[in-house]
Subunit: 279 residues, 6 copies
C-alpha cells in the first residue's frame, strides 16, 4: 500500500515547477479521457493511477480491476475532470501502469510455463527492482501470480555467499536463530554437501544458486536420503529464463526466483486519449 505522498513525489519529479505547457495553453475547462492498452497484457497499476487522478479531483471510472487480462485496445479506465489536471498526471500514470503491467504480464507467462509441469511450484521475484519503485514492482509480481519473496533486507534472513565468505555456515545459522524466532532463515548453497549441511543446521529455505538441473536433482536426492527434504523449502535461482525454466520446474522444487521479472522489464504500451466535451 504505497502512500499518496509517495505517488505525489512522482508527479513532482515530472513537474518540479509545474506543467509549463498546459498551464500556459489550456483553458480551465473539463474534459473526458480514456486510458487503453496497445497490446494484450495482465494489467497492474490502475489503483495507483486512480489515486493520483482522484487526488487532483479528476473523476475515475475503473472499468477493470488490477490483475485483469486485457486484449489490444481494451479501455482500462475513463476519466472526467479538469483538462489541466488530467494532462498533469498523464505521463506519470502511464509510466506506472506501463511498467507494472509489463512485470505482471511476464510473471504470468513464467508462472504458466511452470504450472504446466509442476502445479505447486511458485515463480518468485528478487530484490533486483528499479531503485525507488520496489513496492510497486513487488505488487506487480503478486498481481501476475508470483511470490513476492523478501521485500527488503529487514523482513527475512538470507545468508548468501558474501556472508559465508566471512562466517561459517553453522555459525551463521546459530546467530540467525538467536536473533528472533519470527524470521524464516534461508541459505544460499552451491553444492549438494552444503545443501545437506544447511538443512541439518535448521535453515527453513535452501536456495540452490546457479546449479544445473542435474546438480539440483542430485542435491534433492541427497536431502531425501537423509530424510531432510520435507523440513525445507527448496528454491532455485540464477540465470533462469524462458528457455530453461521448464526443465527446472519439472524437478521437485518449491520456488523458482527470477531477477529478470523486475530488472529487465518491457513496459506494456498504454495511452491516454483526451475527448473534449461537446459544446
Amino acid at each position: 500500500m504505497v502512500s499518496i505522498d509517495y505517488l505525489l513525489n512522482l508527479i513532482r519529479e515530472d513537474a518540479p515547477f509545474g506543467d509549463v505547457t498546459s498551464e500556459t495553453i489550456i483553458p480551465d475547462i473539463g474534459c473526458n479521457a480514456r486510458i487503453s492498452a496497445e497490446q494484450p497484457a495482465v494489467i497492474a497499476g490502475l489503483s495507483e493511477a486512480s489515486a493520483l487522478f482522484r487526488y487532483f479531483e479528476v473523476g475515475v471510472d475503473e472499468l477493470i480491476p488490477d490483475g485483469s487480462l486485457v486484449r489490444r485496445g481494451d479501455t482500462l479506465m475513463t476519466l472526467h475532470g479538469p483538462a489541466k489536471k488530467i494532462l498533469l498526471v498523464e505521463r506519470t500514470a502511464l509510466n506506472i501502469i506501463g511498467r507494472m503491467s509489463g512485470i505482471a504480464t511476464t510473471t504470468r507467462e513464467f508462472a504458466e510455463l511452470v504450472h504446466r509441469v509442476n502445479s505447486s511450484c511458485r515463480v518468485a521475484a528478487t530484490r533486483k527492482t528499479c531503485p525507488g519503485f520496489r513496492e510497486l514492482d513487488k505488487k506487480a509480481v503478486s498481481l501476475g501470480g508470483g511470490d513476492t519473496h523478501r521485500s527488503n533486507l529487514s523482513d527475512g534472513i538470507l545468508i548468501k555467499d558474501n556472508h559465508l565468505a566471512i562466517v561459517s555456515l553453522d555459525e551463521a545459522i546459530a546467530l540467525a536463530q538467536s536473533r528472533s524466532r519470527c524470521y524464516k532463515i534461508e541459505v544460499e548453497v552451491e553444492t549438494r554437501e552444503d545443501a545437506v549441511r544447511a538443512a541439518q543446521s535448521g535453515s527453513d529455505i535452501i536456495m540452490f544458486d546457479n546449479m544445473t538441473p542435474r546438480q539440483v536433482q542430485d542435491s534433492l536426492d541427497a536431502l531425501t536420503q537423509k530424510g531432510l527434504r520435507d523440513n525445507v523449502i527448496v528454491e532455485i535461482s540464477g540465470g533462469i529464463d524462458v528457455s530453461t525454466i521448464v526443465e527446472y520446474a519439472a524437478l521437485d522444487v518449491d520456488v523458482i526466483s527470477i531477477g529478470a521479472l523486475t530488472h529487465s522489464v518491457k513496459n506494456i504500451p498504454v495511452h491516454l486519449e483526451i475527448m473534449p466535451l461537446k459544446k
Copy 2:
C-alpha cells in the same frame, strides 16, 4: 546531480528496519570487495554507487569513469571498509549500476546505428522513465551519447495531440510565446500540412509522430519548398526500434526519440564479491 538524500532513500527502501541478516551474523570487521561486469557494456551509475559507499565510510577506488566501455569480467570499482556497510549498500548499488548501464549501453547501440548514415542526427530519450528514477535514467542516456530531451513538464513547451484536441495549433503557439521567450516551443504533428503550419507559426521543434519514412520525407520536402526547413529542428518519434531506425536516420532529420531507451530496459548484470582480509 542527484542528492545524497535521494540516494539514502533508496537504501531505506531496501532496509527500512535495517539489514537483519548482516546485523545479526556479521562481526564488526573490515573487508575488501570488488564490483565487476558480467557482460560487455557502457557503464553508468558508478558515481552514485560511490557516493553511497562513501556515505557509509567505505573506501572506494573507482577504476574507470562513468561512460566507459568495459568487457565481460572487468572490475568497475574496488571497496574496502566495514563488511556490514558494504553488505548494506550492495544490492542498491548494483541495482543502480545495472539499470543505468543497461540504458547507456542501449543508447550507444542506437546512436552507432544512426551515425553510420547520419552523423548529425541525435538519438534522444523521452519521459517514459521508471517513476522515481527519472534523473538517473536521463543521466544514463547522456552517458551513452544520447540527447536527454525534456527532463520534465517544467522545462520546455511541447504541444501534443491531447493539447490540440482542446486548443488550435495557432492559438497554442501564440499562448506559448506569451509565457516566456526562454523556452523552445515544440509541436507534435501527424501530417505534412500540420508540419508546415507549425513551422509557419513559429515553433522551434517539429516532432513527426508515428509517420512512415515516406510521410516524413514528404513533410521535409514541403518544409524545404516553403523555405522553412532551416528554421526548425525536426524530430522523429513513435515506435522506432533497431529494425527501423536506420531507414529514418537516413532522412534529413535532427533528432530521433525512442521511449524504449528507458521504458524497456534490460539491466547489465553486475555483481559484488567480498574478499575477506587475510588474518
Copy 3:
C-alpha cells in the same frame, strides 16, 4: 503549481508546536472572516491562500481571481469555518498574498512603462528570488504580466561571465548544443564584439549585461549589419529601474529582465477581519 505539502510546511513554520494562543483561549465555534487590501494592487496568492484555508476545512468564497486589479478596501475573499483554523492560517495566508501581490503590482507597473514605448518588449524576472519561495515569486511575475524567464538551473542554458572565465564562448556554445537540442542557449555579453560572436555561434538569446543604452544601440546595429538580428532574442539586464527602463525599452529589444521584481519586494498590506456569528 505548488503542492499542498509545500503550503503546509509554511504553516508548520508558523506553528511548529501549534497555535498556543488560539488553542488556549478560543472556543470551538465557527465564524466568518474577510480578507481585504489596504491599498490598490494587482492581487496574487489567492489560490494558495484558498488551498490552505480549505485544507483546514474553512469555507472560502473567492470574490476575485488572481491577477485582478483592486482598489483600497476591496474584499479579496470571505471565509466561514472554525475560528481556531482561520486564526491558525491567517498570518501565513496574508504573508503569501502580501508578497505575491507586491511582486505582481510592481511587475505590472514596469510592464506598463515599457509598453508605452515598445509593445512587443517583455519585462522578465530573474532567479534573484526569496530562497524557498521561487515558484510563487515567479507565478506572481506571470500574474503581473511579466515573463518568468528560467525557473532554475535545470530548465535552460545560460552562459554567463563566470562560465566564460573558464571556457571560451565558442567552446561553451558547442558543448551546450551537444547536450540537447531541446534547450534554448542564452549567452551573456558585455561588448558589441561578443554580441556578434554569440549570434554567429548559434546562441538563441543574447543578454546585454550592464550596458548603457548607447552601447546597446551600437550592438543592435552591429547585429543588424551582419544580418543576425532576426536570428536572436535580445535581452537587456543589469541595474534597470523605474528611472531608466523607458530609455532601454525604446530600443529594439525583446526582453528587459529586472532582479528587483523579486529581490526587493514591498508587500501589499492585506488584513483579515474576524466577524463572529450572531447568536
Copy 4:
C-alpha cells in the same frame, strides 16, 4: 540554527534536475572565487552560505563574521574548490546573503534612529516574514541589533483584536494563564481603557496598535497613574516608518515593532567572481 537539510532544499529549488549549463560546459577543474558587497551594509547570511559551499566540498575563508559593517567593494569571503560546485551554489548563496543583509542593514538603521532618543527601547520584528524563510529573516533582525519577538505561534501568547472579537479580554487572559506559567502574555489594545484593563488583568506585555503618539502618551499616563507602568512592557506597533519612528521612540516605550523590517526588504547587492587558477 537552520539545518543543512533546510539549506540543501534551497539548492534543490534552484537545481531540481541539476545545473544544466555548468554540467555541460564546465570541465572538472578547481578555481578560486570571491564574494563581495556592492554597497555599504550590515552583512548577514555568511554562515549559511559557508555551510552550503562546504557541504559541496568548496573551501571557504570567511573574512568577516556575520553582523559586520562593510563598505562598497569589500570582500566577504573567498572560495576555492571545484568550479562546478561553486557555480551550483552561487545564486542560492547570494540570494541568502542579499536578503539577510538587507534586513540587517535596515534593522540597524531603525535601531540607530531610536537609540538617539531612547537608549533602552528595542526595535523588533514581526511574523510578517517571507514564507519559508522565517528563521533566517529573524536571525538577520538579530544580527542588525533588533529584538526577534515571537518566532511563531508556538512560542508565546499574543491576544489580538481577532481573538477579542470572540472572547473578552478578562476571559482571554485567565485562560492564557491556565495554560502555562512559562509564556509571557501579550495583549494588543487600541484604547487607553483597554491598556489599563490589560495591565490589571495580569498581561506581561501591552501592544499599542495603530495609535498616535498622543494616544500612546495618554495611555502611558493612565498606566502610570494606576501604578501599573512598571509591571508591563509597552510595545508600539502599526505603520511605523523612518519618518515617524523618532517621535514614538521619544516616549517612554520599551519596544517598537516594525513589519517592514521583513515584509518589505530591499536586498543588498552582492556578487561572486570566479578567478580561474593560473596554469
Copy 5:
C-alpha cells in the same frame, strides 16, 4: 496540533511495505469495530486516532471527548469502514491512545494530590519526553490538567547549571534580556543565595532544583524578606514522586515539574474489537 503527515509517518513505521497479513487474507468488506479501555483512565489521543482512521476512509463515532474520565470497559469510539483499513491503523491508534492516556491519567493523579493542599499550584511536565512524540506527550499532560512548560529549546529561556558552568548568573540574565523582551527568563538555582540573586537580576521564574522541603522553605523566606517573592514564579523540580509531592505542594510554590509524567509512562491498556457486519 500535529499534522496528518506526522500521523501517517507513524503508520508508515508500522507498515513500511504494507500490512502483509490483512492484504493477503482479508477480503474487501466493511465491518464495525469499537475501541474500549481496559481500566479506569483519563483518556487522550482520541482526536489523533480519529484523524488517522478518517484519513483511511473509516467512519468514526467519537463517543467521548479527549480528557474524559472513563471506567473499565467503557467504549471510547466506534468505527465502521473497510476491514483492511481498520486493521492497518489499529496498532498505531492504540499505541497513541494508550500512551497519551497513561500520561493524562498520571498527571491528573499528581494534580489531585497537589490541589488538596495548594489550589493554585500547577503540576508541570519537562522536556523528558519520548523522542519523536514530544507534542503529543505535552498535549496529554495538558488534557490531564497539567502545565505543559517549555515545548522545546526555542520557546523560552531557561538557564541551567550547565550554562552557569560557563557564564555567570548576572551575565546570563543580562544577555537573555538583550535577545528579546518576549521570552520569560527562568533560572535554575540550588541555593537560597542564588535564588535571591536570580530574583534580583530580573528573572521571571526561579526553579529550585533538587532541594529538600526545608531548603525550599528557607529560600522562599529569603525571597519574602527581600520583597522579591511577588516578582517571581517559583518552580520546584527534581526527583519528586507520589510519596513526596504533597510535602512540597504544601509550601508556597507555584509550579512543581515532574519528569516522570512523560519519561516513565505506564500505558493504559485499550483494545479494538472487530464486529463483522451481519449477512
Copy 6:
C-alpha cells in the same frame, strides 16, 4: 540502523527555531562533558547519541559499548567540543539513552527470570512501542537479550482474533501460504482445539493468548499427543508480568512476549555534566 536524518528530526523537535538560551548566553568556546548513569542499568542508545554529537562536530569517547551493564555513577561517554553544540544535543541524547536503557534493563531482568527455569525460552517484545520510536525500542530489546519479534506489519504474517472474526482459520492459513513461502505464519489461539487446528493447517508459530498456565499445559499436551509439538514454535502472550512469568517459563514454551517491555517503560536516569576548559 536508524539514519542520521531520523536522529536530526529529533533535534528539530527539541529546537525547531534553535536553542534560544544557548545561542544567546553561551560564547563560542569549547568544553568537555561527560554523561553518566544515576543507577545500575543495561545501557543502550550510546551509538545513537554518539552519532548526533559527532554530526555537530563534538568529539566523543565511547567508554563502553551498548549493551553494557553499569553501576550507579559510571561514566558512559565523554565529550569535547563547542559548548553550544553539546547543549543543543544534550536533552535529545539523554532522552534516547534513558528510554533505551530502561527497556534494555527491564528486558534483561525478565530474561534472567526466565532462564533460571527454561534456558531455551526467549523473552520477546511486541509492536506496543512508542509511536515514532519503534526501531530503537526494538533495538533496546535486542541489547537487553530479548527477541525483537515482528518489526512491523510488513515483515511477517500474524493471524489474530480480529482477522479470525472475518475469515476462518483454515482459509486464512491457506491464503497466507499463497502469498509467499518466505514469511513464517503465526496464529493466535485461545483454546486447545484451535492450537491443534493451527498446527495441523501448517502454521509455523502458535501464540497462546491470555491463557492460564494450566490451559497452556493442556494445549501443549494436545500438540504432543498429535505429534505436532516439534513442528511449531509456541509463544505465550497476554498480561505476563514479573509475578507470573516464571510459572509460564517453566512450561515447555519457546517464546514469551511482553508488551510492557516497550509500552510501559521507566527511563534510566542519566545526566550530562559540562566541565569548562581550564584557562
